[in-house]
Symmetry: C2
Subunit: 213 residues, 2 copies
C-alpha cells in the first residue's frame, strides 16, 4: 500500500458537534484533543513521515472571546500532549500578535521529543497571507517558492483530510497543498473514528499521483 | 438561489476519455471545446459574473509533443470561440516562453467582445510559481496579496468544479482558491452534461460561506 508521506489534518466541526449536543459552541474544542493524539498514533503505526495539524488561524481570531479562549487552550494542550510522544515538533504561525499564546513560544523552533520519529507541524495563529508575504523579503532568484515562505520547514502535503463535511481548504498551506489529494469526512472532528483514517488511506492508495504533469 | 459570482473550471479527463474510446490520448482535447462553450452559455443564463478556465499549465508542457500540440490547439480554438460571445476576455499565463501560443498574444490584455457581460479568464501556460513569484517584485506593503500576483485581474473564486474525478487543485490559482468550495464531477470533461453544472450549483447553494472566519 502506498502511504502518503505528509498528511494535512483539518479538524473541523467542533462547534457544530457541540451545538448538536446542546453544549455551547466553545465547548466543542476540548473534545478535539483526544482524536488528535489517536490520529498521531495511527499515523505513526502506518509509517506516515510528517503530519500538519490546522490548529487555528488569524481569520478564526475574529470569533467571540469565549471561542478564542477555548480553541487556544485546546491547541496549547494538544501541543503539550504531542511533546510527550516521539516527534520532531514545530509550532508555526504569526508570533508577532497578541493572539499567539505565549505558552507555545518555546515550541516555535523545531525540537525532538522522545526518540524523534514523525515530523509534526502544528499551525497556531496561522495565516496564508502572513505565510506568502515572506516572499516579498526573499532575495532568492530561484522560483522554488516552497523555500521562500514563512512555512519553509513544512514539506509538500500529499493528502489532506478534512472533517466536518466542508470541501474547501480555508487557507490551509496554499503552497504545500498545490498537488495534495483532498479527502473529506462528513463526521465532525470530535466524532473521529479510526475508520475515517483507514478509508482516507485506501482512497489515497487508488489515486494517480502526477504532481501536475 | 445563491449563485457563485466566480466559477473556476478544471476540465480534466480528456486523455482518459480518449483512451476509453480507443483513440490516441491526444485526441481527447478537441472534444473538450464544445463543452466549454455550452458551460459558458449556462453560466451566462444563471447569472454567474466571472469564469476561469484552466487551459494548460507549464507543468503540462512536459508531456509528449502530440499532446502539447493538441491541448494548445484546443485552447486557441476555445478562446476564438469565446471571442464571438458577449464577454470580457483575458488570456493569462507566462508569455515569456516558447510554449505560449503566439495566436493568443492579442488576448493577453482584457478586451470586451460583443456587449461584454461575463468576465472570462482563460489560463494558458499558467504556473502557480510564475503567478506567486510576482510577489517578490512587489513594492506594496499591504498584505492584500491578491493585488500583488501575476493574476491580479482574476477575482477570488467562489466555486471550483473539476471534472474527471480527481480531488485536487493541481496548481489552479492558489491565492484565489483559498476559500473556494470544491465540487468534483466523476465524469470526464468531454462527457459534460448540463446536470453536472446544476448539481454543482445546488450543492454550492447548501454550503455555509465563512471566508475562513
Amino acid at each position: 500500500m502506498r502511504i502518503p508521506e505528509h498528511i494535512g489534518i483539518i479538524p473541523d466541526g467542533n462547534r457544530r458537534w457541540a451545538e448538536n449536543k446542546g453544549l455551547s459552541r466553545a465547548d466543542g474544542y476540548k473534545s478535539g484533543i483526544d482524536p488528535g493524539l489517536l490520529l498521531f498514533k495511527m499515523c505513526e503505526m502506518a509509517g506516515v513521515k510528517e503530519i500538519t495539524y490546522y490548529g487555528f488561524t488569524v481569520d478564526n481570531t475574529k470569533r467571540p472571546t469565549d471561542q478564542i479562549k477555548a480553541f487556544t487552550d485546546a491547541c496549547i494542550n494538544a501541543v503539550k500532549i504531542l511533546s510527550n510522544e516521539n516527534a520532531s515538533l514545530l509550532v508555526v504561525g504569526n508570533t508577532n500578535s497578541p493572539m499567539f499564546p505565549k505558552e507555545l513560544l518555546p515550541y516555535t523552533t523545531r525540537q525532538t521529543f522522545g526518540s524523534g520519529g514523525i515530523k509534526v507541524n502544528f499551525l497556531v495563529n496561522y495565516s496564508w497571507k502572513w505565510d506568502l508575504n515572506y516572499l516579498k523579503r526573499s532575495k532568492c532568484r530561484s522560483n522554488n517558492i516552497n523555500n521562500q515562505i514563512e512555512t519553509y520547514d513544512v514539506s509538500r502535503v500529499d493528502l489532506i483530510i478534512r472533517w466536518g463535511g466542508r470541501r474547501r481548504l480555508s487557507g490551509f498551506l496554499p503552497v504545500q497543498s498545490i498537488y495534495a489529494d483532498f479527502y473529506v469526512v462528513d463526521d465532525y472532528w470530535p466524532d473521529f473514528k479510526p475508520n475515517h483514517f483507514y478509508e482516507a488511506l485506501n482512497w489515497y492508495n487508488d489515486q494517480d499521483i502526477t504532481l501536475g504533469g
